[in-house]
Symmetry: C2
Subunit: 364 residues, 2 copies
């Protein structure tokens, strides 16, 4: 089974995104020399920095995706706000921005006051964890355009976060400062975060039928509850490191595409490679699901975060203090590997069938 069979075409998605970006790039001229001018990075690509007077602002949009179905299946609506927050603010954090504000849009078929209340309560909790203010929102009733599981309100939830680049940073963290020998720190993830759920659902359906979420995972929780496990929000940890003078040379938020794609993007500017010999293993329920679906190690690490939600690259001298700070803030972190002098990424995996994955073409 691969992700294309589960309804997601990664190549076509990349082509559409690339084309959409080419249209977007043509609009940058509209702000040339004005407030909000987009800054161009070293490689000619948008650096994600908008200049407003003295402030350098970043902007990031994302949604919870099909993980929402887990909320619909379990009737638990107060955790997905953590996923929404994580998906948007941790993309900002991956460039060194301190996330400050988020504006959210709930698209739904029909209004359910109590469901929306639970969702917003969760977003409020997540905002406290992220150190962010919810400064905008929109609820749109779209009737039968929205679909989902069961008879209750169906919805989609997306958001845009903005953040500011701390003064101590000369520019966004874009991987240009990465050097061979830098230390790679992994931050533990406790579940699937908000990516790869098309494949998750397909494995579950094949294993347990249409109402798979009601199957007990263990004595305490159903599979639905396990899969709903909310995303850890890392952004405050990055801000804290920077405030303490520990400036990461590169950061990767592990979303769709997994470790290799996302770390590869962080290494693109330097053209360097990485060896990951000591990453976190995924949570037991993730391994259980991988096993049931007969998902290969290669496939699992391509689609899912497999227990590693964020990668932070630091100078060797900063590694110990970085991990100490992360621990003090309640994040599980460990040295996962180091930066190599030439391109290519090697991962000693920790899934059901540990192996060594070698990626050669990671800096495209």
């Amino acid at each position: 089974m691969n992700n294309k069979n589960s309804g997601v075409d990664i190549d076509l998605g990349n082509a559409c995104s690339k084309n959409a970006y080419s249209w977007a790039k043509k609009t940058f001229v509209n702000r040339a020399g004005k407030a909000g001018e987009p800054r161009i990075g070293v490689d000619g690509a948008f650096s994600n920095v908008l200049k407003f007077k003295d402030a350098r602002i970043g902007i990031s949009s994302d949604g919870v995706g099909t993980k929402i179905e887990l909320a619909e299946r379990t009737g638990i609506y107060h955790t997905i706000g953590h996923d929404l927050m994580a998906m948007t603010v941790d993309d900002l954090a991956a460039n060194g921005f301190e996330a400050t504000s988020i504006s959210n849009i709930i698209d739904l078929d029909f209004l359910d006051y109590h469901i929306i209340d639970a969702m917003m309560q969760g977003l409020h909790e997540a905002a406290a964890l992220a150190g962010v203010a919810v400064t905008g929102g929109e609820i749109a009733e779209l009737g039968p355009r929205m679909n989902g599981y069961g008879d209750k309100m169906h919805f989609n939830w997306c958001a845009t976060a903005i953040g500011i680049l701390p003064d101590v940073l000369d520019g966004p963290i874009d991987g240009t400062a990465v050097h061979a020998g830098d230390i790679i720190i992994s931050l533990k993830s406790r579940g699937f975060r908000s990516n790869g759920f098309s494949l998750v659902r397909q494995v579950m359906t094949d294993a347990f039928g249409n109402d798979w979420h009601t199957t007990q995972y263990d004595d305490e929780k159903t599979w639905g509850e396990m899969l709903l496990t909310p995303s850890i929000i890392y952004t405050r940890m990055i801000t804290d490191l920077v405030e303490h003078g520990i400036l990461p040379t590169g950061i990767a938020h592990i979303t769709g595409g997994g470790l290799a794609d996302n770390l590869g993007r962080a290494l693109k500017a330097s053209g360097l490679g990485a060896e990951l010999t000591n990453i976190f293993a995924p949570a037991d329920f993730v391994k259980n699901l991988q096993e049931r679906g007969k998902i290969s190690e290669e496939q699992a690490y391509r689609i899912w975060n497999m227990g590693n939600g964020m990668i932070v690259i630091v100078r060797p001298a900063d590694a110990d203090s970085a991990i100490t700070r992360m621990g003090e803030m309640g994040f599980e972190a460990q040295v996962a590997g180091c930066i190599l002098p030439k391109s290519g990424i090697t991962i000693e995996t920790k899934g059901c069938h540990p192996t060594t994955l070698r990626y050669t073409d990671t800096n495209k």
Copy 2:
């Protein structure tokens, strides 16, 4: 027929929005004294201003809503980018912000490269009209969670715009500066913009059946094409006025709720009222639809903009020069009425059955 019958419950929607905002407000403390701190307005409500160093930033999220079905029905995908732009940036303009940047999210069932290409081309055109850069984007494949008309790609499109408050303004334009005797200028709208389409669709279905969009409206265009008429984007006109020293005392973007609700909101801070004796009439096809649906004048002005897309309130001495600037920029504008010393809004309507509508409780 009313809008509740057509599937939209305005009272419940307001209750949900109010509750969502109360959760959001509790998060403002997360940025107290920090970058991105939300500023509180005179009436204790969020003023929509975020302070980043010397820059005062506004943020606005919205979507095209069910107008997307018109694109699906007609197969014309390059105009709804204008609607998306207008819905977000003109909300910023209504507070005096110069819109600078927009980040968009396309949620879809399955990818269609050419449809997305046409959409982005349209957003690129709209960005030029708005003077805005498209600086972020996300395409999310949600499979059968997304629904719509016909067999092609179904989607929803929303966006968040950010803007900056010009230095010449002491604060956002929030209506506190409105005085009795100020002149109300209306900006012409050429169609339904992006609101009230639930009622539009119901009238059309009752009149022409399920494939109503294929019915000819006149020799040149179908009903589908007429209803797709893109929104005028006003934001640059507001920025231009401010740059020329013409500072509006209040502005209302006429969206859901119509003239009375949206103008009422702009008059809330002052507690004053308005008399609109000379607004624009709606386009002929809007009147035609109103007539077919037997929509009362009261209902039409509550749900639709009825030919008036934005209201700009200026000091009497600024009225002539404001209208001249608007005309030079290609916007049809006329004096529509004036501000009265006490609350309440009176509208001499221009729909199918002209009458005088009186609203007493407009400053809540």
